[in-house]
Each structure stands twice: as structure tokens, then as C-alpha cells.
């Protein structure tokens, strides 16, 4: 596991509706230690997803540095695994091929990547759905696949963008508990974006409150695990 450092991060963009440059992120600095779970919370439009998109390399920062371990971020890369709000599974691939996708990109042969993908599917309780297509799965099952797809690629940092926002409340609780179980075993460095304060407190070592593009407060959560 590696650390994730955000240093004096800025993001401005031209808003055609307003006709001027708008500041989305204003001087955000954040240090996430190896194996630490940090949640960023804030209302819609506070810039929390913008931060994740910049860390993932999907969006260039206007100013500032993003560093994983000791390497600055330049574009998307497999050192940062991303879990998307709407799962973003490839609809034309089976679940096992989705989970093995990162391994395939690393040139690992089919039998080996199927074996590894199957291990991760078992971890998520999804081995029975290995040969199904994403659209045949419930939202909760799709997101389990989305989480282990990121994990199977052995990222240094896990980036989660409101991953449980589009499943029902019951499923969300189950997924949160499963995430805690997996994280407890593997201790990934996690940047977790959510608008749900309860979720942030349940999951994270530290909660960062974001408002209008800057950090309002950082709150360490000292409640012993398991929580709930």
C-alpha cells in the first residue's frame, strides 16, 4: 500500500452558462497514509467528485500536485483502482471477464487471470454469477463486481466515487459491511467520496468535510471497529 498526497490542488473551468471562470476546487491539501481509509463528504456540487476525477487522472488539475507513493499522477493508471457510482462494467463482457480485465491488460494469460478473478469473485460472494452479463445482475451484485474488478488489479490506492449511492438502502448496508470486511483483511489506501455523513463515519479512519471547493474540517473517527 502507498500513500496518497494532494498538495495545493486547484481546479477552475470556464462555465459557458455564467460566462466566467468558476472555481471548483480551491487549495485542497490532503495526506492519506498507507492503508488509511479517508472519506470526503459534502453536499452536491461541493467538488468532491472533481477531486476524485483529478486523482484518477480523468481530469487535469489546474494547479497543484497529486502524488501516489512518490510518483506524481499523470493521467489514468492502474496504480489507482476506481470504483464508479454507476458501476461502469463493460456490458459486452461477462462478470469474470470484467473482473479479469485489468489482468488481461497486464498480459496475464486467460487461465491464470480466470483463476485470480474467481478468487475475487468468491471474496465478493459472486462466483455463481461469473459467466453472466452485467445487465443480468442486480445493482448490488454489479457493484460487488465493480469493487473486486478494481481490487483484482492490485492497485496501490482505491478510489471510490459514491459507490453505494445507486443501490437501495438495504443493499447499501450490506455492501458497506462487506467493504469493511475486505478492507480489514487487505488494508488498502482508500479515498472514498460520499454525500452520506453516516456512511463516512461508519467506514473511514478520517472524514474530510468539503464545502464550496475547499476543506472545511478534518475529523478523525476514533470509534473502534467493527462499528455499527
Amino acid at each position: 500500500m502507498k500513500s496518497l498526497t494532494l498538495r495545493n490542488l486547484h481546479k477552475t473551468y470556464f462555465d459557458p452558462a455564467v460566462g466566467t471562470r468558476v472555481t471548483a476546487i480551491q487549495d485542497v491539501s490532503l495526506e492519506i497514509g498507507p492503508g488509511e481509509f479517508v472519506a470526503v463528504v459534502g453536499p452536491a456540487g461541493c467538488g468532491k467528485s472533481t477531486i476524485l476525477n483529478m486523482v484518477a487522472g480523468f481530469l487535469p488539475a489546474t494547479r497543484g500536485d497529486i502524488i501516489v507513493g512518490d510518483r506524481p499522477v499523470k493521467g489514468p493508471g492502474r496504480d489507482r483502482g476506481v470504483v464508479f457510482q454507476n458501476f461502469a462494467l463493460l456490458p459486452w463482457k461477462t462478470v469474470i471477464d470484467n473482473v479479469g480485465f485489468g489482468l488481461k491488460m497486464r498480459g496475464i494469460a486467460k487461465p491464470e487471470r480466470d483463476r485470480i478473478a474467481m478468487e475475487f469473485l468468491e471474496l465478493a460472494g459472486l462466483s455463481h454469477a461469473a459467466e453472466r452479463y452485467p445487465n443480468e445482475l442486480s445493482g448490488g451484485m454489479q457493484q460487488r463486481a465493480g469493487v473486486v474488478r478494481a481490487l483484482a488489479n492490485e492497485p496501490d490506492v482505491l478510489l471510490m466515487d459514491e459507490p453505494f449511492a445507486s443501490v437501495d438502502a438495504q443493499t447499501r448496508m450490506t455492501l458497506q459491511e462487506e467493504l469493511m470486511r475486505i478492507w480489514g483483511e487487505r488494508r488498502h489506501t482508500v479515498l472514498f467520496i460520499t454525500h452520506d455523513v453516516g456512511e463516512a463515519v461508519f467506514l473511514a479512519d478520517r472524514v474530510v468535510v468539503l464545502s464550496k471547493g475547499h476543506v472545511l474540517r478534518e475529523i478523525p473517527i476514533t470509534i473502534p471497529r467493527p462499528r455499527g
Partner: protein, 272 residues
């Protein structure tokens, strides 16, 4: 009979029956037309030089099959369609993908491709004969154009319709530029590409018949046109029947199932 069937057969039974019913619904009007034809011809005493009887057409079919001329015409026509279509798809798909990944390029080229998509087909015949002379080149060019612009445009549409998050997901899992094309863009655009090929081939088939009337000495279009010079209406009608049936077979047995299969698998999530 269904009460003793295994569950799996019960599942397939109604589906197969529905397919059969659909096929029957499709074929029935054609059969009615075929039955009315000799009645009408004899009832009104239609002259064979205006419209042929069934027997004459049947005789023409037997003759042209036995002397091999029908096969030669069909082979020539299908060969041109295959060559033109294959060439068009091979060029159009990579081009459509390349354009689709660049927003500026796609915005610029979209109106042009729409314009040429509408134009495609018969309108190219005069200039094609000027450029290539009469024969294979001109006709293949007409077919190429009919398929090329529609497939390129559809590929472009398909690529731009792929949700950005899928490209982001692939990139964050380590996909190279090449892998992005083969693993995300091509499969993502496949339903549109297949739809484009089906639409383009429809235009190409019509364009082919027209082009063959003008620009060649073998092929189904030529067969019709030359028969006209000799008042051989039975050959003309035979050719029309063959042209229609061939297209129905290509469309119903190859293109439509292909389109359905890709849209069912690939499209559900994307189009929802």
C-alpha cells in the same frame, strides 16, 4: 403434448411456434399474390409482351438455370456486393472509430457524412462510369459508397455514444490505446456498426441493380435490362423475383438476426 415435455422444451416450444407463425404471416401474402397471378393473366387475357404467365416464367427459370446464365448473373451480382461491402466496412469502421474519439473531428465530419449517406447509391453511377469505365470497378464503387458513408457515420455515432465512464474504467485498469479500441470502442459501437451495414447493404442492393443496368454486361440488373430489348417479360419477371428473394434471404437470415443479437447483448445497458 406439452404436458409431458421437459421444462427446457416448454421454454423453447412457444418461441419456435412464434417464429413459425411470424414466418407464415410474412409468406402468406406472397403466396396469395403468386396464386392470383395466373388467374388474373388468363382472366384478362394479358399479352405475354405486357406481362408473362407463370408457365413462361417457370420455363425461363428452368432454361436459365440449366444453361448456367442465371447462376452467372447471381454470382456476378453477389460478388460485387460482397467485394464493395467488405472493402467499405474495412475502411469505414477504423475511420469511424478514429473520428469518434476526437470530438472536434467528429463534429466537423458528421454533417458531411450525413450528406453523403443520403446521397449514397444510384447518384454515384454517372460519375463512377466516368472514373472507372463500365464494369466491375464502377459498380463496386457505387456499392462501396452506399455502404461506406452509412457505416462510417454509424460507427462514429456508436463510438460517441459509449459512456465516458466505460472509457475511464478501462483506462484506470491499464488499457493501452490499442486495447481501448479493441476492448471498448469497437465492441461498444458494434450494434451501431451492424445497423449501419444492414442499412447500407439495403441501399447497395438497390444501387447495384441500377448500376448493372447501365454499366456492365453481366449481373441481375443487366439480365433485366437486356431482356427488355427482346420483349422477354418472363425473364424480366424472373429477374425481379430473384432480386427480391435474394435480398429477403440476405436481410432476414443474415443481417436481421445479427443486428438483433448484437443489440440484445451489447445494447441493453447502453441504450437504456
Amino acid at each position: 403434448m406439452s404436458h409431458s415435455a421437459a421444462p427446457i422444451e416448454m421454454g423453447q416450444g412457444p418461441g419456435a411456434a412464434r417464429h413459425l407463425r411470424q414466418a407464415a404471416t410474412f409468406v402468406a401474402p406472397l403466396v396469395v399474390l403468386f396464386l392470383c397471378w395466373p388467374l388474373l393473366v388468363s382472366a384478362f387475357g394479358v399479352d405475354a409482351r405486357v406481362f408473362p404467365g407463370v408457365k413462361a416464367v417457370f420455363a425461363a427459370a428452368v432454361e436459365s438455370v440449366s444453361d448456367g446464365s442465371l447462376l452467372a448473373h447471381v454470382a456476378a451480382s453477389l460478388g460485387r456486393v460482397a467485394a464493395g461491402t467488405l472493402l467499405a466496412v474495412v475502411v469505414a469502421v477504423p475511420l469511424g472509430v478514429a473520428m469518434g474519439v476526437n470530438a472536434g473531428v467528429s463534429a466537423f465530419l458528421t454533417p458531411l457524412f450525413r450528406f453523403f449517406s443520403v446521397l449514397a447509391g444510384i447518384a454515384w453511377i454517372p460519375i463512377a462510369t466516368l472514373w472507372f469505365g463500365y464494369g466491375f470497378g464502377a459498380i463496386t464503387f457505387v456499392i462501396f459508397n452506399a455502404v461506406f458513408f452509412i457505416v462510417a457515420y454509424n460507427t462514429l455515432l456508436g463510438v460517441t455514444a459509449i459512456p465516458m465512464r466505460l472509457r475511464h474504467a478501462a483506462a484506470s485498469l491499464g488499457a493501452s490505446r490499442l486495447a481501448m479500441v479493441t476492448e471498448v470502442l469497437l465492441p461498444g459501437a458494434l450494434p451501431n456498426i451492424v445497423t449501419g451495414i444492414r442499412t447500407g447493404l439495403g441501399f447497395a442492393w438497390r444501387g447495384l441493380i441500377a448500376a448493372e443496368m447501365i454499366a456492365t454486361n453481366v449481373g441481375l440488373g443487366y439480365m433485366l435490362f437486356v431482356a427488355r430489348d427482346f420483349y422477354r417479360t418472363e425473364v424480366i419477371v424472373l429477374g425481379m423475383i430473384v432480386i427480391g428473394i435474394l435480398w429477403l434471404l440476405i436481410d432476414r437470415l443474415i443481417l436481421a438476426p445479427l443486428e438483433r443479437a448484437t443489440i440484445e447483448r451489447w445494447g441493453v445497458v447502453q441504450r437504456a
